[in-house]
Symmetry: C2
Subunit: 203 residues, 2 copies
């Protein structure tokens, strides 16, 4: 029932995460009805994405690839108002975005790209520890905030970071785990509730 | 926190229906991690969409635009196995797709493109009635199935179609409205339940 061209587009759109046949058709029909410039510009941006966006050479966040072929540096690493003595270590770029949305992180970041995962066979050698340790040394970092997720892999990664960084004598902290804002105590799972209790602070 | 290029892409992606900042970021990060050919091919298809897909000159369904600049004809209108004597009239291309998914429609279609809507100021003159009536005449249609939605505008359109088509002496039918398959009678709204009762058939 679909035109050949439309079929091709729907197959490609369906490869996006969470997009099935119906959502793909919804996007395609919207693009066919919307201002023609939208499909032209969106298509051009997607097609050129991999040429124009690259990992930041310092922190692995996403950055504009310089046209002169030099090393990419992200908007946070080039922001002089950031406190270079505070370094927040995250697993994925998505996690960096989530922390930035909170708007209270004054320091810089380092994106590991993956977490330690014994179950999936990801060992310490597959994490960019040398790059991280060199950066800590070079930039005279005074506090490392470990912001890996409160999951099995995230905690294993936090322990590895502790083993490597603690001997260097700088401040090493871990983001708090507990009952989320607006959350109902009644529905908190036992582990989260246990952490909320263990991590209690003076009122 | 985003690179300039990424920001541009996120703004464009966010214009798709139901896509907010987070979903846009999810799509962009997926495209940055997936095989590079996906972003190139998807981008190229989207950019060229409006050049390659056009309304079918016979029924207004979506069709491949012929490279020689001739009139576009959709896959259904060019399918000789379809029974040209049965014509199903729908409001939107999405509705045609939904009927095709049921897999039981042997005839062809005509897409009105919009419904009669007194509230939004869409009158009979804005519907392609002449094109529809010419098609019915030319192709010797024997049954017209009115498949506009069971909404106020859909019913108004169905009445308009009845007024125009009934005097021509061919069979004119309307798709059934009632309790959906798998639906729980307890949660059916009163209008749907009323229609299910009024449209009852011999067991």
């Amino acid at each position: 029932m679909f035109s050949e061209r439309l079929k091709r587009l729907l197959v490609l759109l369906s490869r996006l995460p969470g997009v099935g046949e119906k959502t793909a058709a919804r996007y395609a029909l919207f693009l066919l009805a919307a201002d023609e410039s939208l499909s032209r510009e969106l298509g051009a941006e997607i097609a050129a994405l991999r040429d124009r966006v690259a990992p930041c050479s310092r922190c692995n966040n996403l950055a504009d690839r310089p046209e002169d072929g030099g090393a990419a540096l992200c908007a946070i690493c080039t922001d002089n108002k950031r406190d270079a003595s505070i370094l927040c270590v995250v697993g994925r770029v998505q996690d960096l975005f989530a922390i930035e949305r909170a708007g209270t992180m004054r320091g810089r970041y380092f994106v590991l790209g993956r977490l330690l995962s014994p179950l999936e066979g990801v060992g310490p050698d597959e994490l960019p520890m040398d790059k991280l340790l060199t950066l800590i040394e070079r930039e005279r970092v005074r506090e490392v905030i470990v912001a890996t997720p409160p999951s099995v892999d995230g905690e294993a990664t936090a322990l590895l970071l502790k083993r490597e960084i603690a001997p260097r004598g700088l401040r090493l902290t871990r983001i708090a785990s507990g009952v989320p804002h607006g959350g109902d105590l009644e529905y908190a799972d036992p582990i989260t509730m246990g952490r909320a209790l263990a991590g209690r602070q003076e009122l």
